[in-house]
């Protein structure tokens, strides 16, 4: 394939955007909208071998191409764009600024596809900038106060991010002596260059503390735009880091520590902030932040231990695709739900919404559960000191995501998003398609690339208990919240009502005692009510949750430590001092029965 094909794939949305300037062509172009990302998808599906194409005259020498990683990124990104375009067609039907949205949407699409296909720093940077700046138009689209604020914050972060990225790329290009990303990846970049690249891309990725722009922007953008912002575009940050930072080549211990710590904080803190949101889309935005925390943990581990990169890399790509599809589906789901007018449709869509929500939360066998377990397995190659904590964070993220998803579902009902009056089924279709794909990902992924999928398929299916715990906490919180909203005394009244009725029927003998009980029952709730009002419900819940997981994980990791360490310690202490040996031996004897049992067989 030639450069022309690549330029066509990137340029096709640009051609459509230009054609939108002609008013007569607009209806046809809107109908063609889902076809705009199609060349990208076809390219991704058809190219099986790594490719390089060059255009000597462009900028400072243009290089484009596809490899194993970028191919997978291209496929899931273009699928998301196709779904979002189909939804946009109907979502924007009566919008007075539909044309402007379409232009910005297509520009961002071209940038997103372009950066995945770029192999040199200029093209990458250009496409990245095109995507980021065009998305401003998507965020600000509704022009209400929230959108304007979100867009201002967004563009501020974009500009700063672009500048940091520029300096990072200049440093990297100088140190590598080449503008090819592959050469930068193979070079021993200085710590400063890597730090700049990590921050520049980290802003796009939304890892704390660089996340501030993300939830408001994803909340303010129209639904189809949120889907690609959250599903496809933030992955550009991950893709950039994977393309330009010498992961698996050079160890950057300090960078790794910071990224990993940021990732862990992100997983926890995004939950705390997310559950306090009052509408569904920012909650989903915070869920994205939380999920990118997991990605950051993987990146941090690979920065610390280059040897672990081989194992971590395929998992990161898988997680990116998994989150992209599930989160894209969820955002489109919010839109599809909002367009429903009938109660039945709303209930059906809520159930459908729960599918990608559960996938994201890490339901066993689905991509969420597999991805998380594969990540845990890959992390065992990394730092041993961090490992128990990482496992803890990953487990916790399951609970956290479940809670965020529960919050999102509750908010759809409590605070329904506004939707244009359009065909509800037309909006439901892309949502259901993406949700289905998110569910089918473990099956589809090996078909795309068996080698890259192997570590994921080899992973254990994942545990159900974090999910169950999340659901339990969510239910508890929901019930408590309901109790608070009706008043605690009344709530207890409601709970005790059946018993009361029964007792009334039974006998008057109980009447006196019941009156006494009632007096008591009125006094205690008042106390409790005053108490609970001072505590934010969510914080209490989370504190309990963290405590619970800590206990469970501490128990299991303690067991692991006791299994492994004595044998190791034995080897060391035999040579050093005899003092500790008896103590160690006694521990070993406790653990020996299996070995002793095995011996007679021989």
């Amino acid at each position: 394939m030639t450069l022309t094909v690549y330029l066509f794939v990137v340029g096709w949305p640009l051609v459509m955007a230009t054609a939108l300037l002609i008013p007569q062509a607009r209806p046809i172009l809107w109908r063609m909208m889902p076809l705009a990302p199609l060349p990208a998808l076809l390219l991704g599906l058809l190219v099986s071998q790594p490719q390089f194409v060059t255009g000597e005259w462009f900028v400072l020498g243009l290089t484009m191409g596809l490899d194993d990683v970028s191919r997978l990124f291209l496929i899931f990104t273009s699928v998301l764009w196709i779904a979002a375009s189909s939804a946009a067609r109907h979502w924007m039907r009566e919008d007075p600024r539909a044309t402007e949205f379409a232009v910005m949407f297509l520009l961002a699409m071209s940038g997103n596809v372009g950066l995945i296909l770029s192999k040199d720093a200029m093209a990458f940077y250009g496409a990245f900038a095109l995507m980021s700046f065009a998305s401003y138009g998507l965020v600000v689209h509704t022009r209400d106060m929230a959108a304007r604020k979100a867009a201002l914050l967004y563009i501020g972060f974009v500009v700063v991010g672009e500048l940091i990225l520029f300096s990072g790329l200049v440093l990297a290009a100088t140190q590598a002596g080449s503008i090819l990303l592959a050469d930068m990846r193979a070079a021993e970049l200085s710590g400063l260059a890597v730090a700049l690249l990590l921050v520049g891309f980290g802003i796009k990725l939304g890892v704390m503390p660089l996340h501030f722009w993300l939830p408001p922007a994803h909340g303010a953008a129209p639904v189809p735009a949120s889907a690609v912002l959250s599903g496809a575009m933030i992955k550009a940050g991950l893709f950039g880091i994977m393309s330009a930072v010498p992961l698996g080549v050079v160890a950057y211990g300090d960078h790794g520590t910071v990224v990993m710590a940021a990732g862990m904080v992100t997983v926890f803190a995004a939950l705390l902030l997310g559950v306090q949101q009052t509408s569904a889309k920012p909650v989903l935005g915070f869920s994205s932040v939380s999920q990118m925390g997991i990605i950051a943990i993987g990146l941090g581990a690979a920065l610390m231990t280059p040897g672990a990169w081989v194992a971590i890399m395929p998992v990161l790509v898988f997680l990116a695709a998994h989150h992209g599809l599930a989160k894209g589906a969820l955002f489109l789901g919010v839109g599809a739900w909002a367009a429903q007018t009938g109660r039945v449709g709303q209930i059906v869509l809520t159930l459908a919404f729960a599918v990608p929500a559960l996938v994201l939360a890490g339901l066993p066998i689905t991509s969420g559960g597999l991805g998380k377990e594969a990540m845990k397995a890959a992390l065992t190659l990394g730092s041993e000191v961090w490992l128990p904590w990482l496992t803890l964070a990953l487990t916790l993220s399951g609970v956290a995501t479940t809670l965020l998803m529960a919050r999102a579902i509750a908010l759809i009902w409590l605070n329904p998003p506004k939707a244009p009056a359009s065909k509800p089924e037309a909006l439901a279709l892309p949502f259901l398609g993406l949700a289905g794909l998110a569910l089918a990902l473990p099956v589809v992924w090996p078909l795309l690339d068996a080698t890259m999928a192997a570590p994921v398929l080899d992973a254990t299916t994942g545990a159900l208990w974090p999910l169950a715990l999340g659901v339990a906490i969510a239910l508890t919180v929901a019930i408590t919240a309901y109790a608070q909203s009706v008043g605690l005394a009344e709530f207890i009244d409601m709970l005790t009502a059946p018993a009361r009725n029964l007792s009334e029927r039974l006998s008057n003998v109980w009447a006196a005692k019941r009156r006494a009980a009632r007096r008591l029952g009125a006094a205690v709730p008042r106390m409790i009510e005053g108490y609970t009002l001072q505590w934010r419900l969510s914080q209490t819940a989370i504190a309990g949750l963290i405590a619970a997981v800590l206990v469970i994980e501490a128990a299991s990791s303690l067991r692991d430590v006791r299994l492994v360490t004595p044998a190791l310690r034995l080897g060391l202490t035999e040579q050093d001092t005899g003092l500790q040996i008896p103590e160690v031996e006694t521990e070993i004897e406790e653990r020996e029965p299996d070995a002793i049992l095995d011996e007679p067989v021989e």
Partner: protein
């Protein structure tokens, strides 16, 4: 093979001879005037293209007449001259189209186009001057030819601006005269020679060389709007839009920047300039100007003033690239000579269109102008994003080379400086784009459309915007400004 040894002189004469004819034409002979204007401009572009071809083939042009013994009037067409000549020839053609449209119903058109032509002739002379003496002649001519253009409107404000402009530039010219005399006395010649003519002097009389450097660079620094000699530039923006466009993109400011190149590269030589310890202070001054100009630009509400301060900042990129004394940075500097010209001329012509078509002269009136004048604002947007430094637009290429040049000499602060400058660029350009495209025009209290914007006003900014895209997007292609720049730098650094 020099089948036409006087080609540089012909190029100079095209616009120089057109000038008296244009003066002589009666005011109402508009069509004839337009014909002459465009005809001459087109002929010049063709001649320059021919010259460029010849020079790239290795032909050397040298035209000189002896004025006094040892003092020659000398024109040469070295690659550096050609870079500037082609910029001015092409942009002159475009600006002529724009001016014809702009002044369609204006007064004193004979005077305007006469001086306009003279101004471009002076610029070409500055570009092709083969020694500092010739340079001085055209440099002064440029001052005198632009003054009537700056005060063209004849308002009190314009006259005041013209006075300030004259004070600054004539003072600069006087200092340049002294410097030229000094150079002649010290070196016995004023020729521009790659590698410089002052290596021996600098070795023996370091202080004299240093003083000469300060005098010469200071003199041309006035036109290059280096802080603290920049004040005339924002005031001179009262001139009509095409004049501002030409002033900022090609003629005056660029003559100053070009002068700095000639002085540093071909009077002193970059190694000598470094040896006498003058490049670092020059780089520092350029850095200060870059940041100062940008900071001042943020506070301006008047569109043209904001653009003017932006020029103060952007032109110093050129000085910075020269002063960094790295061939890579030099490529950035020279490319920026072209790139900045294209970007800024686009913006000034777009600003002119806003003022003429919508009566919008202030940033705060720009709400919704994108919808009202999409073509003009698309051009403006492309130029603004190029200034911020987004690839594949022109500004990115120069910034990339400047940053790499800074790292090349171990000056990491250059990257930080470019970062800061780009951030400031974004801070003063993005709000304009935001208002133009993302705000509705209801709050505009501007005067309703004064006149229709014909193709003569609409096409030039779009053309230059496309060029901004092309010189960046095809920076690596043969005969792109960047390629030519690499050729020039190889000569100046004698590689």
């Amino acid at each position: 093979m020099t089948d036409m040894p006087l080609l540089p002189l012909f190029i100079l004469l095209t616009s120089l001879l057109a000038s008296p004819i244009l003066f002589a034409l009666p005011e109402r002979a508009a069509n004839l005037r337009t014909g002459i204007n465009l005809g001459v401009a087109a002929i010049k572009v063709a001649l320059v293209a021919w010259l460029g071809w010849k020079v790239s083939q290795g032909v050397v042009y040298d035209v000189h007449f002896t004025v006094l013994p040892g003092l020659d009037f000398k024109l040469q067409a070295d690659p550096l001259a050609l870079l500037f000549v082609s910029l001015s020839a092409i942009l002159w053609l475009i600006t002529t189209v724009y001016s014809v449209g702009y002044l369609e119903s204006g007064s004193h058109r004979a005077r305007f186009f006469g001086f306009f032509s003279l101004c471009v002739a002076a610029t070409v002379g500055v570009a092709m001057a083969g020694n500092l003496f010739t340079f001085l002649i055209f440099y002064e001519l440029l001052t005198l030819a632009t003054y009537p253009l700056v005060i063209h409107r004849g308002s009190a404000e314009a006259l005041r601006a013209g006075r300030i402009y004259l004070i600054y530039t004539l003072a600069g010219g006087l200092v340049l005269l002294l410097g030229t005399l000094g150079l002649w006395i010290v070196a016995g010649t004023t020729d521009f020679v790659p590698g410089g003519i002052l290596a021996d002097v600098a070795a023996e009389q370091r202080l004299v060389a240093q003083m000469l450097f300060v005098v010469l660079v200071g003199a041309v620094g006035v036109k290059a709007a280096l802080v603290p000699f920049h004040a005339w530039l924002p005031i001179a923006m009262v001139a009509p839009a095409p004049v501002s466009a030409l002033l900022h993109a090609v003629a005056v400011v660029k003559a100053g920047a070009f002068g700095i190149m000639r002085v540093v590269y071909e009077v002193f030589g970059i190694e000598t300039a470094q040896a006498i310890g003058m490049t670092a202070p020059l780089a520092a001054l350029a850095a200060i100007t870059i940041i100062y100009g940008s900071l001042k630009a943020i506070t301006q509400d008047d569109i043209k003033k904001r653009l003017a301060y932006s020029t103060v900042s952007q032109v110093s990129y050129i000085t910075l690239g020269v002063a960094l004394a790295s061939p890579i940075a030099a490529v950035g500097a020279l490319a920026h000579l072209i790139h900045q010209g294209l970007m800024k001329i686009t913006m000034f012509m777009a600003a002119g269109n806003l003022a003429e078509g919508l009566g919008v002269k202030k940033v705060s009136q720009m709400n919704g102008v994108g919808r009202a004048m999409p073509g003009t604002m698309l051009a403006f947007t492309a130029a603004a994003l190029a200034m911020i430094g987004l690839p594949p637009l022109a500004g990115f290429v120069s910034k990339w080379y400047l940053a790499q040049g800074g790292l090349d000499t171990g000056a990491v602060w250059v990257v930080a400086l470019l970062l800061g400058s780009s951030l400031l660029n974004a801070i003063y350009f993005l709000p304009m784009l935001y208002r133009a495209w993302f705000r509705d025009g209801t709050e505009t209290e501007a005067v309703p459309a004064r006149r229709r914007i014909g193709w003569m006003l609409a096409a030039p900014p779009i053309t230059t915007a496309l060029m901004v895209l092309a010189v960046g997007g095809f920076a690596n292609a043969p005969f792109s400004p960047l390629e030519w720049t690499r050729f020039v730098v190889a000569i100046e650094y004698q590689e």
